[in-house]
Symmetry: C2
Subunit: 340 residues, 2 copies
């Protein structure tokens, strides 16, 4: 298996990307193609004492870099020789099994859609990141790729999220919930009401296990395994969980740092604090799969360090092995809304 | 000042409501009208050793009760003699200065709109609860009264929230942000783009201090004092902060309970843990004002106990004294969008 990595994407590129990739090649026994500026990649390799390329690791030279200020919809044309575009072309052409980038989310979404293309029948690709919950973890789909959605998109998000929870997270019969502002099926805007009906129908047909509406409050508490939402609300959900965790971590720090007693207390429950931080650390997850694209594409966090990239590679490997893309393709007929 | 209280609303009615009201009457020097079943209210009073009504405390008999299953849009007609409807009528008729209920949110919203009415020119009443943040607190408006909004509603939410932050929270020049999925003014759906323009115009005219888009992640971190959003996203934001806080509190408990070291640690930082819990405790806030109604109406949490009701009364008193309703009325001409 070969994983293609955008060596120039993200705040800590190329150094941390390259370091993480080399660690992952060894840890997970995968081949790696590093796409980016050859000289910078070689320099990053030398820094960790790698003077000759390890077996299975290749460099594909791409001199241009996409940055956060570039117009996302235009990069395929304006940055033809960028690591992002060239890496996705390698994937599209079959020169690798999955692609990882820590660069611009919008550019990755657009370029992956144009170059690798969606699975036939899928209306929109969506991000389905995994969040820790009180009882395990859950997938939030879509978490920001599509601010405006139709009920059909939502049906497809629910199915793709459910397949992902089963094939990648290993949850046998994932509970799929629709993000809403109340439990009753009359709640929300027309989008939620129509999506509810479609998800229920898919559940009646045995494609997914739809458990109804879920309120945002119950997501971190573990009420469902998959949360279906438009990209706007999904982004609000995901980011507010993240922000609250950061806020509370800072309160925790204050609590421990505030007094001598607190400092002594900290010594006694150091391990607990460490577990707690780990649970909330995006670096442990690695990245987010772009579901609906015809080959696995992973978006790593913009501030990814070597550990995050290493975990993103583990995740890409899982995605390839899980057969998630094939699963979506095989079920596409159940994920369509007949035109009236 | 007289505060009218729905003695039959909420999970712990009438007992906790009555107890909290009596505490508040003494603590804040306000007169109280308890609306509900006279005999049940008297029994609740006897339980705390109150055999004769304290000066300034009155009971207004209303035998019917609105419950969570009643159709919200219909209670004004179907539950004419309920504590909710009768209490709001007392407010509308000038027999009190503010109204508090811990009952059904939807019923309160509809009944307050029909009986007390909106301030002339205000298109929709909105909930603007206060949340703790890393740097203080912020108002989230609308947090669920209106799932679907127009840009004009959003402009009015921004202005009402800003007046509230200034007059009630005492923030001199509140930073008003628009909840969005990115910082750039091109982000979001048409609703966000049009609302952005209206809020910016209001800011240019000196009515509010609009600081642009705010991402959900930065809300708990204290980026703004007022978050403007449609009721759907606002509800997701508010509830996910609440759920994450609950989730993390349970992790914290596990951390302290997990080992003997943790238990000893807990003893050393007990005060910190207590502060932390207090920060996240809705009972400390009391309730949420329904902004845009022509007199102060406060929604207390459904599971309010005596402490929460006591704080809701404090909040109602603040709302009356702040002159927030008059402030909205005085600025209404700047909060309208001319018809094209």
């Amino acid at each position: 298996m070969r994983i293609i990595i955008d060596a120039q994407g993200g705040d800590n590129a190329p150094r941390e990307i390259v370091h993480g990739a080399i660690q992952a090649a060894e840890a997970y026994g995968v081949d790696i193609t590093l796409v980016g500026r050859g000289d910078e990649i070689l320099e990053a390799l030398r820094e960790i004492g790698v003077d000759t390329l390890p077996a299975g690791v290749e460099i594909f030279n791409a001199d241009d870099v996409v940055d956060m200020h570039d117009e996302a919809t235009d990069v395929v044309h304006s940055h033809r020789n960028s690591s992002l575009v060239q890496g996705l072309k390698l994937l599209a052409d079959g020169n690798g099994d999955a692609f990882i980038s820590a660069g611009s989310t919008g550019a990755l979404l657009t370029a992956a859609t144009l170059l690798v293309r969606r699975i036939r029948g899928i209306r929109r690709a969506a991000f389905g990141p995994t969040m820790p919950t009180k009882t395990g973890q859950c997938i939030i789909i879509d978490s920001g790729a599509n601010a405006e959605c139709t009920p059909e998109f939502m049906l497809q998000f629910g199915c793709m999220g459910s397949f992902c929870a089963r094939k990648i997270l290993g949850i046998e019969n994932p509970r799929v919930g629709l993000l809403n502002i109340g439990a009753e099926d009359t709640k929300g805007t027309p989008l939620q009401k129509e999506s509810y009906a479609l998800l229920k129908q898919a559940s009646d047909n045995g494609i997914i296990n739809f458990v109804g509406n879920v309120e945002a409050r119950d997501v971190p508490l573990g009420a469902v395994d998959v949360v279906v939402c438009d990209g706007f609300s999904g982004n609000v959900l995901l980011k507010s969980i993240e922000g609250t965790a950061l806020f509370m971590a800072s309160q925790l720090k204050k609590m421990f740092g505030g007094s001598i007693g607190g400092k002594i207390g900290y010594l006694f429950c150091k391990k607990g604090v460490k577990d707690f931080k780990k649970l909330m650390d995006y670096r442990e997850v690695g990245g987010t799969m772009l579901l609906g694209i015809s080959k696995p594409v992973i978006k790593a966090h913009g501030s990814s360090d070597a550990l995050a990239i290493r975990n993103a590679v583990r995740q890409a490997k899982q995605a390839v092995e899980s057969g998630i893309v094939e699963e979506i393709r095989a079920n596409i007929s159940s994920m369509k809304v007949p035109k009236e």
